[in-house]
Subunit: 425 residues, 3 copies
Amino acid sequence: MKNELEKYFDRLWPICRSITGNGLRESLNILSEVIPLEIIEYPTGTKAFDWEVPREWNIKEAYIETPGGERIADFNVNNLHVLNYSIPVDKTVSFDELKEHVRTLPDQPDAIPYVTSYYSEKWGFCLSQNQFDSLPKEGNYKVKIDSTLEPGSLSVGHCILNGETDEEILISTYVCHPSMANNELSGPLAAAFLYKKLASLSKRKYTYRFVFAPETAGVIAYLSQYGNHMSAKIKAGFVATCCGDAGPFTYKRSKDPTNLADRAAEHLLRSAGLPHSVINFAVGGSDERQYCSPGFNMPVGSLMRTMYQHYPEYHTSLDNKDFISFEALEETVETYYDICRILELNGLYFNKIQHCEPQLGKRGLYPDSLNPDDARTELHNLLHLLSFADGKMDLIEIADRRGTCALNFAKAIAECTEAGILERL
Amino acid sequence: MKNELEKYFDRLWPICRSITGNGLRESLNILSEVIPLEIIEYPTGTKAFDWEVPREWNIKEAYIETPGGERIADFNVNNLHVLNYSIPVDKTVSFDELKEHVRTLPDQPDAIPYVTSYYSEKWGFCLSQNQFDSLPKEGNYKVKIDSTLEPGSLSVGHCILNGETDEEILISTYVCHPSMANNELSGPLAAAFLYKKLASLSKRKYTYRFVFAPETAGVIAYLSQYGNHMSAKIKAGFVATCCGDAGPFTYKRSKDPTNLADRAAEHLLRSAGLPHSVINFAVGGSDERQYCSPGFNMPVGSLMRTMYQHYPEYHTSLDNKDFISFEALEETVETYYDICRILELNGLYFNKIQHCEPQLGKRGLYPDSLNPDDARTELHNLLHLLSFADGKMDLIEIADRRGTCALNFAKAIAECTEAGILERL
Amino acid sequence: MKNELEKYFDRLWPICRSITGNGLRESLNILSEVIPLEIIEYPTGTKAFDWEVPREWNIKEAYIETPGGERIADFNVNNLHVLNYSIPVDKTVSFDELKEHVRTLPDQPDAIPYVTSYYSEKWGFCLSQNQFDSLPKEGNYKVKIDSTLEPGSLSVGHCILNGETDEEILISTYVCHPSMANNELSGPLAAAFLYKKLASLSKRKYTYRFVFAPETAGVIAYLSQYGNHMSAKIKAGFVATCCGDAGPFTYKRSKDPTNLADRAAEHLLRSAGLPHSVINFAVGGSDERQYCSPGFNMPVGSLMRTMYQHYPEYHTSLDNKDFISFEALEETVETYYDICRILELNGLYFNKIQHCEPQLGKRGLYPDSLNPDDARTELHNLLHLLSFADGKMDLIEIADRRGTCALNFAKAIAECTEAGILERL
């Protein structure tokens, strides 16, 4: 899988995405080769709760021309150089005026920062501190941003992968950042390739809803259309972001950590022995802010590796292909997949022989007595399952009571179901 | 404030208080200069639950005259020398008989112990071990205690500081100990000066009830009059004692630590980073024993510095002005005041935009995007408040979820209320 | 008590027990000298939930004769040599065939393992690895097991010790292992001698049900007769096993550790300061598997010293008299007895003076004020009891709130009941 991940990464990398515009649209089209996304266009001005859909932003080129005639901060060299969602500009300014429109990172002098201004009309450039320091303080600068902000639409891609029931699992990821690797390209890539694995299952209990939207504005528009339905149907959901660095996992809980999303994700991370940390819901985050807003309060967490704002490359030109690992990204996809497998297997099981243990020997479920140590772990998994299968405690809790992963009960579930002594409610 | 605290301390110090009598009355009168106490007199013999108000004790002088004619254990030098509530005596006794009526502290040979005998008629003296050891074993001793135990009354001071609602916060302190500083003069002083700060507020949600009573007997008499009303109205309460030493805070919980008193006090101590310990309710204590008795079970804890019985000077002549610090006493007053401010601010808040986040930019509540680090803490406080303001979770829990003090949300509450997107329920 | 324990141990030791047969019957008869057991015989073929009572096994002798004519693996020397419940055999076999029927412990070359085959018809021998290694590989071996497997019955002993109510405490132990000391003779011995102590009490609140049954099969048969009654009546129960080694206590919880059995046992172990560990319910265990099966889910835990499978001597010939200590076994009996005493004393108590404290002085319950340190622990126990005796919180929780053992309140309960201020609900 990691070669395919890299191939799609390389194609998506150069595109300048924003919360609206053709870069977003083009990215969704490329991802559609992996996951069959339906693209929804929300026209500029569409009301969505307290918000309305903003104008569509498109950009052809942007650069600064120094007094010496050198073209710097060229959008075509690195699309972070332009303030994302910048209004157009084409004029000559002094260094002092230019300075008011330039953002640098003094503490990371080699990095170009990523800055946006969606809701305050501005023009601006982002430079490395080193480059900025080298500019002459005298003379005229030409500044050119050939962008448009016009009525158009905001694009959201979604895909519904049907299961046996209309209860849903949500995988949401955002697609609005220009050329940065961990935050954000790793997120859409992980979600798309998770789709591939889930789609290949012969059957699924849950229906899976994949949402690829610009952060905040896109998800709010989407929720204005689907929020009520999702509130009723979603049993667990995750925001996929920062999926590609080599650090340990970070799971950010929803507001109520007793829900199924948090229970399944934490159960997997804990029982699989994956290095990880768990943090509570906080507003410094991504689209879980909308999914978990009080009117929805959906069971939506976020599985990441190193969290946004917790690595210095975050939101800079240093968050690039070198920063991520496709092995790590593949492991993240597999981990999301295992969580989905737990959700699929989880449920209420009922041992039909409720009083005393079933006699396993007569059903061929008891190992040979001359070798009592054989298969003791599997035997005890089976006995544990039967002992706790009262139709009230779900499999995740049953597995937690044994200190093992719910997936390790798959064989016992199959054998006991086959033997006619266990049923799923 | 600390100079005023010291001034009143110096005036109250020499008075010989007991659970009844003129020393108690005089002390309440002095405190009335700071807090307008109404004095209630409960006549001797008044029934109060399982108790009745005891006789009034007054004392003019007390001393021992040694065989050599020296006057020692002179009440006018230190009022701890006399067994508090002692019956009168005026006779000549041998050393052996005297010994039966003297209490010392062998482990603290310089300290005069504080001892009482309210419910068993006795006469007695308290001496330092060193002084006692120096007494001749032969010869006649004259013992004189010029006290009276007669029908009279037990005095309680209380003050009701009205707020917008009739829900009450209780501040209770005891006034029955002779010349000792931390236990007890620091308590009435803290309560009186807390009153001054609360009274100066332009508005208060809660009505504050201040009770200055002799320990046990006084509070039981008071509860026999006001207990039913208090049971219905008191939402949080605290027994102020041991407020003046320089040690870290000790918070003693009520019986049910989920109540508002314990939650507010512990939230403040924890979120303000004040060194402190928290202990559970126990019967080795003060008037919380009555407030938390099963028939009342009021939400009443006790904020102290070093707890009674946990410092060697406790209940001895060494618990004097040198032992306490007026800076520490002032900090205790301020800490009580902050707890009251939390109680005032706490409540249920409702974000009028329940679905997805409010658009802060259009309301001027979002910081300039070119400087995203500015005011991020305040922005996140505001977003956090809005995200959790579902009208069900109170502010203390909302603040705990962010790991910060509820008082830090005051600005966001004001701004969001002003912007029309938040209301208090 | 320990001499008597040893005397009965010595008589029970040589008997070859199994899940049916005369060895079991003889053992129950010997134990009946200590506890008046009623013996119930469940005929072969009796249906019991998913099981049926197996045939009765009896054995006269068993041995292997080597090619050199030496008699080894002699059942009369050590009854572990024969596979327990082995079918009869009497033939000549090669070493290679013999090998298929021999079980050894390569990691414990001096130990004879204990192996059973109840539900799969087999013959077999158990040898130490060292002995097995010394056997010649050539020549003919005579194998002789003179056993019978015939219709008969499975024997269970039980005893009901009546109390004032029909609510029951269960003590269950198993009697089906041949000559091993900790697992299992220590269990029946502990249960029998616990009976003696409980029977000597002048009154008991609870009725005590003692069950001495072969493990699994016996308890399932017993539950098919008494399970419904027990489900309704049992308030706490314990499986007594591994009671005799010198290790610290192990308490294995039932499935729901908020029940009375677990609360009482853990309260005693914790408050008495006994070295111990607590583990959750798990299916690798004994008859609690049946009592806690989902259809019953009785409050039944297990107090042990070193748990089965956690000492290398377990289920081998090394679990012998040298391995256990009769002092330790006596301490286990006393610990079970203390848990029963806690259960007897536990309940809801009501302080008749619910508002404010009772006046102790007038009832002679307050110590002399001139010696305030005297009896402070007892005074505070009494005050604590009265303060929490609201008729809703049981004594175990009241004691936990004070961090002391419930048994330490016996004196205060007696005094306050005598003084007319406390009643048991």
